[in-house]
């Protein structure tokens, strides 16, 4: 039996402890917002928070999160009728296309802003470099993060070339 807390709720699971957290979330707990993209920590689609920090759940054995606090996209918003500011910014900037990568993008961005409220461009790039968006929405993702961070966004129409 492995015990852990997922989105504030205690869980006790009788699963092979080597099973990656991703599959436990999706199959046992039916939290399907966390996505499978590569299975080898290359794409970020499976990103969740473990004790508030972004981690790739596809390579994290269940045993490693024994007694830890796990947060998934379903638990990112502060309550059922509120959105996390990043989720609102994602809607405002119309970020998602297919949307498949976006749970992971949001979890990585939320982890970044939690530890660095005012990231520079380079810091955003570094924090987000593990998250692939095959639909290529990097510009919108960056803009949405900056909107929440409350820093100005380089506007190409006005900026120098």
């Amino acid at each position: 039996m492995i015990r852990l807390t997922v989105n504030g709720k205690e869980q006790e699971l009788d699963v092979d402890p080597q099973t990656p957290l991703l599959w436990v979330l999706r199959e046992q707990l039916r939290l399907t917002g966390t996505k499978f993209g590569c299975g080898m920590a290359q794409c970020g689609a499976c990103t969740v928070h473990v004790n508030g920090t972004a981690q790739r759940s596809c390579v994290m054995p269940l045993a490693a999160v024994q007694d830890q606090q796990v947060t998934t996209i379903e638990g990112l918003a502060p309550s059922d009728d509120e959105l996390h500011p990043l989720q609102q910014a994602w809607i405002d900037e119309q970020v998602p296309q297919c949307g498949y990568c976006q749970s992971g993008q949001l979890m990585s961005a939320a982890s970044l802003l939690a530890s660095n409220a005012n990231p520079s461009d380079e810091e955003i790039d570094a924090a987000m470099q593990g998250n692939i968006c095959r639909c290529g929405m990097y510009g919108r993702i960056k803009k949405a993060i900056k909107n929440v961070a409350g820093v100005g966004y380089f506007d190409p129409a006005r900026g120098e070339v």
Binding site: Q97, C98, I124, C135, G136
Partner: protein
């Protein structure tokens, strides 16, 4: 003709106005029980097959295209709502069920009595004979808006509005001409009457639909061309959006597969004993290969597959890893990328059975009289689609019926393919289509659905099949590798007198290799050079390869003449005002005239595809041989942008997709199999490599073009041309990562 209650609908199948002017009319007596579920509650009325109204005045638009992120469903609903004069806040939409009434080809037949030309060359496949009675409910070829939207949605919306007006006129006993519509309300000003559409839905549904409802002109648009929020987005920020892999069917088990790594291979020996020891493994199954004629891609060699069914994906994967398989390669394991390109080279040189795309003027004469002859040869590799969501499908087969939960670009075609594989009537297969985590052409091919269905049939339980990323990269229907050879004559006056081009393998769209430039003599053609590698449509199909070739070569001609590449193109486009306009716009917005610092470069390219014209300017900085793409400026003329922000998002997306391929994308063949396997060796562009993108839209008023694909073709040549501007090295092969730009490339034909 009965009232449009659900019951009347089911029992008689009489759908007054079903399909309206668009030729999918469901004739009296035509039994269509499949449509019944569309009316899901008793207070709903189907006004025509494209729209229903409920008692709260909410209009639900039924959209016959899948959503893979391109926002097509929102844009199509906008088109119907516009003509219907609906209140956008009271409009919702749902995807049409995969039944023949919603097939695009019927739509096409209905409009003009034959399949519209836009469908034949551009829809998502290669070598397609639309004349076959095949099922197409394709989302691809950028045709949702152009075809369904223009010919289906707008007409259906306008017809619905006219029927509602007529219904109100009869009830109120006033002339129809005195009734106005606005925001889902019917208004008769003289008698001060106003009522919601819903009040007249039932009456309207009994009416004869107008045969040619009148459409609005562009200056009357209030929803088309205006910004609306995409309706699918909120569910995509909180994890609630349902992709096919997110379904849970009671009693479901999981499966994963490996197909013969050498295409067309078979299972020689299989030892499943270790796999069956893995806790949670239920069964090990071998699935058949196929090499039958595929309507989408011609004949493709698809090998046998081993599958492991288990209590979860993880044990299934562990089981698959534990399988000891010996494959029979049938002698196809000697081919590699080098041999394939060498074969292309031989076949181009031999020119056997060369066919022409365009033959005009006298190319030999031009070459004879040339003051200068310019030659170049280009090549591009195979590419995988690498949709963010790996292939997956969930199936349940019982009592002669199959249910399929899937995200796909062609639900109707999938239904038929699965039915055939299971030996069922198509009507016994029920398809639930979901959001796709990317499609890009890959999810028009039903191989993964067939696998899931066969597994479910075998184990007699619902099965969720999930491919590993490795399987996704290694068992794709690849963008074909192409080699393309050019020769041009420049005459004594400095004019380009001839353009000669031969490439391998003709696919779709037919016009992809054609140039818009005013060159008198042209000989553009191809030879066949088939390989054993499965191929399929990849975002913008052949435009991505030919766009790179032709827009690189035109740049080389400008360089040979020592003329600015933008002005050179502009001069050759003097009789093409729409082309010239996008070219000028991109150059102007990019600040083409402004000088750049040393080590920086600018490149331009232009490609029309799927009815949309796109010019792109790329700016790069090259430091120690490393290319950083700083900025991309795109000018786009789609005729009319239905959803301006949606169009921009699609162009941004198409640019990044194409840039990722141009910089990193390469599938190589070694010993008959794909060498790459996951994102560490099939590299994808990431945030730190992605440029600032500016998109400028020109609404020229031309026919409405596509959005999902046209952003892609121009980016690779614009990048290569920018690298040339910065370094003097001409990039004739993709991807760029294979070049060492620390050194000036003199002879750039071979870099591998």
């Amino acid at each position: 003709m009965g009232k449009w209650t659900r019951r009347a609908f089911i029992t008689t199948g009489v759908v007054a106005g079903g399909g309206l002017a668009i030729g999918v009319a469901l004739r009296p007596g035509h039994r269509t029980p499949e449509l019944a579920p569309l009316v899901s509650s008793d207070d709903e009325t189907l006004v025509n097959v494209w729209v229903k109204l409920d008692s709260k005045n909410v209009a639900t638009v039924i959209v016959p295209h899948s959503e893979m992120g391109q926002g097509a469903q929102t844009a199509l609903a906008q088109m119907l709502a516009e003509e219907m004069d609906a209140d956008w806040d009271l409009v919702q939409f749902e995807e049409a069920p995969p039944v023949p009434e919603y097939a695009n080809y019927l739509l096409g037949y209905g409009i003009i009595g034959e399949v519209p030309k836009v469908l034949v060359p551009t829809f998502d496949g290669l070598m397609i004979k639309v004349a076959q009675s095949m099922a197409m409910q394709i989302t691809g070829g950028s045709l949702s808006i152009r075809s369904t939207g223009q010919y289906g949605m707008r007409i259906a919306g306008a017809a619905a509005r006219e029927m509602l007006v007529e219904a109100a006129a009869q009830t109120w006993q006033v002339p129809a001409a005195e009734i106005q519509t606005e925001a889902s309300q019917l208004i008769h000003a003289a008698s001060n009457r106003r009522a919601p559409y819903a009040e007249f839905a039932a009456v309207a549904a009994q009416m004869q639909p107008p045969s040619s409802p009148s459409l609005k002109s562009a200056d009357e648009f209030r929803i088309i061309g205006h910004h609306v929020q995409r309706r699918d987005i909120p569910s995509k920020v909180d994890g609630s959006a349902q992709f096919a892999m997110d379904v849970h069917v009671p009693g479901m088990v999981y499966a994963t597969v490996q197909r013969a790594p050498v295409f067309g291979g078979g299972v020689d020996k299989l030892d499943a004993s270790a796999a069956k020891q893995v806790k949670g493994v239920i069964d090990v199954v071998t699935l058949p290969g196929s090499n039958k004629e595929d309507p989408f891609s011609g004949r493709q060699n698809i090998g046998e597959t081993v599958a492991v069914v288990a209590e979860g994906y993880w044990p299934a994967k562990q089981g698959l890893n534990a399988l000891a398989v010996e494959w029979n390669h049938y002698g196809r394991d000697s081919m590699g990328s080098d041999e394939i390109f060498a074969q292309f080279d031989r076949d181009i040189t031999a020119g056997v059975e060369r066919e022409n795309d365009r033959l005009q003027g006298d190319v030999s004469m031009a070459l004879e009289n040339a003051a200068q002859v310019v030659e170049a040869e280009y090549r591009v590799p195979y590419l995988a689609h690498a949709c963010m969501e790996p292939m997956n499908a969930t199936a349940h087969v019982q009592n002669g019926q199959c249910e399929l939960w899937i995200g796909c670009q062609n639900p109707l075609g999938f239904r038929d393919a699965v039915a055939e594989a299971l030996g069922m009537e198509p009507g016994n297969v029920k398809v639930h289509n979901h959001f796709m985590g990317g499609g890009f052409g890959r999810k028009a091919n039903p191989d993964y659905a067939i696998q899931a269905a066969l597994l479910a049939q075998k184990v007699q339980r619902p099965v969720q099949l999930i491919w590993s990323r490795e399987e996704d990269i290694r068992q794709d229907y690849y963008r074909p590798a192409v080699r393309s050879r050019f020769r041009a004559a420049i005459d004594a006056n400095g004019e380009v007198a001839s353009w000669e081009n031969t490439y391998v393998d003709k696919h779709e769209p037919a016009e992809a290799p054609l140039i818009p430039y005013a060159v008198g003599s042209q000989d553009i053609g191809y030879v066949a050079s088939p390989t054993n590698i499965p191929f399929g449509a990849w975002r913008s199909v052949d435009h991505t390869q030919h766009g790179f070739f032709t827009e690189s070569f035109i740049d080389e001609l400008a360089a040979a003449k020592e003329v600015d590449p933008y002005e050179f193109r502009a001069n050759l486009l003097r009789d093409k005002p729409r082309h010239l306009a996008v070219l000028n716009k991109a150059a102007k917005e990019a600040g083409w005239e402004q000088p750049l610092a040393p080590g920086r470069g600018r490149g331009i390219a232009l490609q029309e595809s799927f009815g949309t014209l796109v010019a792109e300017v790329v700016e790069v900085t090259v430091t120690d041989g490393d290319v950083k793409v700083d900025r991309v400026v795109a000018a786009v003329d789609p005729g009319l942008a239905i959803s301006p922000d949606g169009l921009k998002a699609q162009i941004e997306s198409g640019i990044i997709y194409g840039l990722s391929a141009a910089m990193f994308g390469e599938v190589t063949i070694e010993n008959g199999a794909v060498a790459q396997s996951n994102f560490h060796d099939y590299q994808i562009l990431r945030m730190q490599d992605s440029p600032v993108i500016e998109t400028h839209v020109i609404n020229s008023g031309g026919p409405v073009g596509g959005a999902g694909e046209p952003g892609t073709p121009a980016i690779a040549p614009a990048l290569a041309n920018a690298v040339f501007d910065a370094t003097g090295s001409r990039v004739r092969q993709l991807p760029l990562k294979n070049y060492d730009l620390k050194f000036r490339i003199e002879e750039s034909d071979e870099v591998a």
